[in-house]
Symmetry: C2
Subunit: 207 residues, 2 copies
């Protein structure tokens, strides 16, 4: 195995370091965040790989944003009106999802052809094609001292998912849903299920 | 699509709600965290799916811990001596990794047969079998007001990975590394690469 120290990484240059370090945490979730500027009714859609579970009761999710030093429409919309949607990305539209990260003047929904939809009076737009959609409401905003990234903490208000992907114990079969995963900044992956394992107890071999 | 509101989820009961909500963020990384109690030299190894990228320069990672209301050896060790390791889990030992979540009296390294190793004088133990290992040092501890979960912010000091998995631009091919991904609390998945996509620009179709 090769050893990479902090100094070696810095000496390799900015691009190498960014690609390398972005891969270190492992596979990441891939969500499109839908938001709206309520002043001019302009919608926004952006891919995020830093969305993570915070708690089940109350159902809470976290999203990490890069420092608020340049224009960030998604973050500004969320801070303006307190709501956004999470939309899982599936294999049949991951290229359009990636394309949402370009600097568009128009709404990314229009630019990429991903159709927007509004459900049950929720203010922020969902992605019509997405197989798992979540309505979120802003609860907290924390700036991390280490590098000024911004952690948005949000409650999960409503979820839309195919009924046949939800098992009896509440587990959602993401392979049935069709969700994909991402590594680093730009590498997309489908999955093969290895198995679900039972609650672990000492001296009971896992089969 | 079926609609699940907050109230519907609560009415389904604790187990259903926990399984369901834990799946919502999407696929998650899977790391074994190695730590040590320096008072009695007892090592600890525990699986975590809430490890995420915070920044590339300085290289920074976050780990979310459930509330510090019961004994949590990993968190206590990190707060005691300020260091821990992240070890990617591969298909050939994911059952042992899962088994580390049982309540063992002895070190999980001994209990599960996953051999520990110490590298270059770093205080915390690594998992010998792991194909990607990271030495981390505690930088910050933030308690989230929403549910008292604890976010540990750490610097990445050193990385060990097979040289042939690291591409010229720094990207680490996690499929070559063999890392797997997890969904919900207990479902494990290998991956199939769909592709890496180029930096997105407006009006340039992604191929």
């Amino acid at each position: 195995m090769k050893r990479f120290t902090k100094d070696i990484l810095i000496n390799k240059g900015k691009v190498f370091n960014r690609n390398f370090v972005n891969c270190l945490s492992g596979y990441k979730s891939l969500n499109l965040i839908g938001s709206i500027n309520t002043e001019n009714a302009k919608t926004n859609l952006a891919p995020f790989s830093q969305v993570f579970h915070i708690g089940a009761n109350p159902a809470t999710v976290g999203v990490l944003f890069r420092p608020h030093s340049v224009e960030r429409h998604t973050l500004e919309n969320i801070l303006q009106n307190g709501c956004f949607t999470l939309n899982h990305v599936a294999e049949n539209f991951y290229k359009e999802a990636h394309q949402c990260s370009a600097r568009w003047d128009q709404s990314e929904f229009k630019a990429t052809g991903l159709e927007e939809e509004f459900l049950n009076d929720f203010k922020a737009p969902f992605v019509k094609l997405s197989p798992l959609k979540i309505a979120c409401v802003l609860k907290d905003k924390i700036t991390l001292a280490v590098n000024e990234t911004i952690l948005i903490v949000a409650s999960i208000e409503e979820v839309y998912v195919a009924a046949n992907a939800v098992e009896e114990d509440g587990f959602i079969a993401l392979d049935k849903v069709g969700s994909i995963t991402v590594s680093g900044l730009d590498s997309y992956h489908a999955t093969n299920k290895l198995g679900r394992l039972p609650y672990a107890k000492p001296f009971q071999k896992t089969e």
